[in-house]
């Protein structure tokens, strides 16, 4: 696929910080950012829920269906070969993007949630027994709590929870204290969707490994916002979701160390995951296909590959640096609003601004912001234990991406002032 001109221009300046004009050019790639809502320009600040898609991704999905559509790993016809090549090429892009050692360590899933369930139902069921423990943190998304609860209930094991402090940071000493010979796995979020906290996962993994405990990292919120290097992190498993990194919905990635994946039983049975089947004996396929039963989301994987190309074209370091500037700007702006409290004030934070207003409930805030064309999330963010910790039923949350601007944050600030006028 030909590289768009502006991408080449960006490549030349790949080490320079993203400038306002860079972001303006990037915004032209996202059709939806030029839409209006309620007659006002869309200000999309719900990126932790899902990111928008550049035309390169939309185009890649479109092109696949228009010119390459066939099933993969089956046909001898050339169309099927082309589809297989495109699908496997996407896997190689993921491998490179997260710096896996081997391509076969990349398993396509429906998303982070399925990746965690896969590990719980295979690795977990194989390794966890009565009296064993699984360690999570207090800031996990429900998807990194419930699969482990299901497993613990089935096996008579116990879910342990590493506590957080009032800034929404994991208490690392407590995490270490909870590691014991009974701990069979630690499952920790990289970036909290409700608080924005960036956990020191590399240190946590080293500590866990010192105790012989493997670690799953939930990268749903980090994949599109921080450079990921699974070998440097030394994690055992890493999951992420395509739709939160400018890719399509319904596609995600599970990275697992080959030695683990090899030893794990299959997750689902079906076509593609077998080498041979008879009624007496079935031989499972090699990695990663052992974990990809049935026709996969081929177009989704190709779209995710295009999303990775797009993100790499800008550069993950530059994206992270720019979002950090935006976060600082937004934090200062919101802190200047009377009666507003930011929930989640970790020293190491990604682009999430969860907040609470004295005068208005999060739902009312989100409703009135929608009138201004501003999309934010209100609710418990699928992290009810976090809400309970802060004694709140819900928060309003603005979450950032590299295509957001300071002007959009200014619009958010003005709209919050208007909300206060209505409710004060």
């Amino acid at each position: 696929m030909a590289m768009p001109d502006h991408r080449e221009a960006l490549d030349e300046a790949a080490s320079a910080p993203l400038s306002e004009s860079d972001v303006e050019r990037i915004r032209t790639d996202f059709p939806i950012l030029h839409a209006t809502r309620q007659g006002k320009p869309l200000v999309y600040l719900d990126n932790a829920a899902t990111t928008q898609k550049p035309r390169q991704v939309i185009g890649a999905v479109n092109t696949f269906y228009a010119t390459q559509n066939a099933n993969v790993h089956r046909g001898v016809h050339s169309l099927s070969e082309a589809a297989t090549d495109a699908y496997e090429e996407a896997r190689i892009k993921v491998e490179r993007f997260i710096n896996a050692q081997l391509t076969c360590e990349v398993v396509f899933t429906r998303g982070s949630t399925e990746g965690i369930n896969l590990v719980a139902q295979t690795f977990g069921r194989q390794r966890v027994g009565p009296g064993d423990e699984i360690l999570v943190s207090h800031m996990e998304h429900h998807s990194n709590i419930v699969p482990w609860q299901i497993l613990c209930e089935e096996k008579g094991a116990t879910l342990r929870v590493a506590p957080i402090n009032r800034d929404g940071e994991l208490i690392v000493d407590e995490f270490e204290r909870l590691l014991s010979p009974r701990t069979k796995l630690a499952a920790i979020v990289h970036v909290s969707n409700a608080l924005g906290t960036v956990n020191p996962v590399k240190d946590l993994i080293r500590t866990a490994h010192d105790h012989g405990v493997p670690v799953l990292v939930d990268g749903a919120q980090s994949g599109a916002h921080l450079p990921i290097d699974v070998q440097d992190l030394d994690c055992d498993f890493f999951v992420c979701s395509g739709h939160k990194m400018c890719g399509p919905t319904g596609i995600g990635v599970l990275y697992g160390r080959a030695e683990h994946l090899d030893a794990m039983p299959p997750y689902q049975g079906g076509g593609d995951m077998i080498l041979s089947v008879s009624f007496e004996k079935t031989t499972y396929n090699s990695l990663p296909h052992k974990f990809e039963a049935g026709t996969p989301h081929i177009a989704g994987a190709i779209g995710l590959g295009a999303a990775i190309d797009y993100l790499e074209g800008i550069g993950m370091e530059r994206i992270a640096a720019y979002e950090q500037q935006l976060l600082e700007y937004g934090t200062t702006l919101l802190q200047g609003i009377d009666g507003l409290r930011i929930i989640g004030t970790a020293k190491d934070k990604a682009g999430v601004l969860s907040f609470h207003l004295d005068s208005a409930h999060p739902h009312d805030i989100a409703q009135l912001l929608d009138d201004e064309g501003i999309a934010i999330r209100a609710g418990h963010h699928c992290a009810q234990p976090v809400m309970q910790f802060f004694g709140l039923p819900a928060t309003a949350r603005a979450s950032l991406a590299f295509y957001n601007t300071r002007q959009e944050l200014d619009a958010l600030g003005h709209a919050i002032e208007k909300v206060k006028e209505v409710f004060d």
Partner: protein, 150 residues
Amino acid sequence: MADKRALYEQVILEHNKSPRNFRAMADADRRTEGHNPLCGDHFTIYLKLEGDRIADISFDGAGCAISKSSASVMTSLLKGKTKEEAEAMFVKFHQMITSRPDEPIDEDALGRMAVFSGVRAYPVRIKCAILAWHSMLAGIDGKDEPVSTE
């Protein structure tokens, strides 16, 4: 923002700020919890019954302006009413709130409940407006389980 005043009517904002009957009732005959965890709306409705009549009704808890003001308006309407009258008002409110946004409403029959007609244009908020009403009904029926309208 003026366009959404149809949702946030002045009466709604006023009840949200100064809710009526907003107190726990120590000697309540019935107490029902209404909880919409997705929204974070969480109220308790207290009922004091004298025979068939609602001698007193109050609520406490926290939630959005729609759910809170709806509970406030409801309690102010139902005090002194019979169970049967309360059920009839529930039906009236339910019919109105779940009707099409452009459907004419009977302002006279609905009375103060009519201020919530703007909610009809916002389907995700209907559950906020009816939470207190469903909780009250469960209380009248003597049901113990918490109520959710999500």
